[in-house]
């Protein structure tokens, strides 16, 4: 720009006019490339949609977990199909995820040593999901737990709640 400004107007005019001129070929090239770009982006978007399933045949994330009286106080009950532990302590109920926060293996409740252990890489957790030792980066999450009107436990795996929240029955 500074170079162009230093030239006299008479010198500048022809080259500036030549630079500004858009030939029919340039115009059509740009329009075609633009249209192809828009179509390309659109096809990426619809392909992404196609590969994201709308209906999943996976276990439901909200489910009933039976009568609370079936779990004695100070017990951990593993629901294998749901990959959740129902833990009942003196202060109440909570639902702890059985999926290890390290790489997604299913942990096991060890009643003898009073802890939840992962068979894959050796992470250990307390019954309330607090990490005892790694490599798991986070404690096991607690899922929302409530009672249905007819008195059954209801667990919602999509809602993660704080470790301090317990269900009193």
């Amino acid at each position: 720009m500074s170079d162009a400004n230093s030239l006299s107007p008479a010198e500048m005019l022809p080259s500036a006019a030549a630079a500004k001129e858009v030939t029919r070929r340039d115009f059509l090239n740009e329009v075609t490339l633009g249209a192809l770009g828009v179509a390309g982006l659109g096809s990426v978007a619809v392909t992404y949609q196609y590969f994201s399933p709308n209906v999943l045949f996976e276990p439901s994330t909200t489910f009933r977990a039976g009568n609370p009286d079936l779990c004695p106080v100070h017990s951990v009950t593993f629901l294998q199909d749901r990959q959740v532990y129902i833990v009942r302590m003196r202060e109440g109920f909570y639902a702890v995820s059985a999926v290890c926060t390290h790489l997604g293996c299913i942990t096991q409740w060890k009643p003898d040593s009073d802890m939840i252990a992962c068979p894959c890489h050796g992470s250990k957790f307390k019954p309330d999901g607090i990490k005892i030792e790694g490599p798991a980066p986070r404690p096991l999450p607690h899922f929302a737990i409530s009672l249905t009107p007819d008195g059954e436990l209801l667990i919602n795996k999509l809602e993660i709640i704080k470790l301090s929240q317990v269900l009193k029955v």
Partner: protein, 250 residues
Amino acid sequence: MATSFQSALQNLRETKVWKSIFRRGPANTNRTRSLAVFGNLFLHWMPVKVREKSLRVRASYYLGSISFILFVVLFVTGILLMFYYHPAAPNAYRDMKDLQFVVSNGVFLRNLHRLAAHLMVFAVFWHMFHVFYRGGYKPPHEFNWVVGVVLLLVTLFLSYTGYLLPWDQLAFWAVTVGTNIISAMPFIGSKIRFLLLGGNIVGENALLRFYVLHVVILPLVAFLLIGVHFWRVQKDGGLTVKPKDEDGKE
């Protein structure tokens, strides 16, 4: 006997059909031999001349050729296995067991496919190390080195997608753990995992997706890149030969 065979061959070469296919006369001079290579789709990416030094075992240990032969073995045995395998639960595991115990020679084909896959990963890595320590990545071979690295990744993806197909506990947990590693990627990790598995868990969709990747998409990519890789070896002036080899002293 020999002369009658040669005259029969000569007569065959005179026929209109032979001439329409090969177009050239007998390959009896260097020029016509070269033309025979150039004019053949299956040979045209091969060199018309090879230096004797680059054929010595020490020059390459034939590691690239071994990798390719293993790829061909995997291609053939894989297609044969597809005749009995349904990529759906619970058929997949039963089909794998049927191949082991029921189908005639099924266990031979399955193990050939499995062992060739293990060997191919080994051979491709060894090939890469050999090329690296020989300086085969240096100009003018830089582009072919990058193609080779992509081929290594394709080999590993082929291995990994094939690992799920027996649909046993080993396969299930290997893919559960592996795809959880993907979801550790910042921002897009869990999206990529969802797309790869076709869901949130390793289920029917994941099996089908890994199957399609394993038998269609990745082999096509591998085939294309192997073609480019071989062609570039010749275009870049053949194998890298150590100066010591050039002297012939070693």
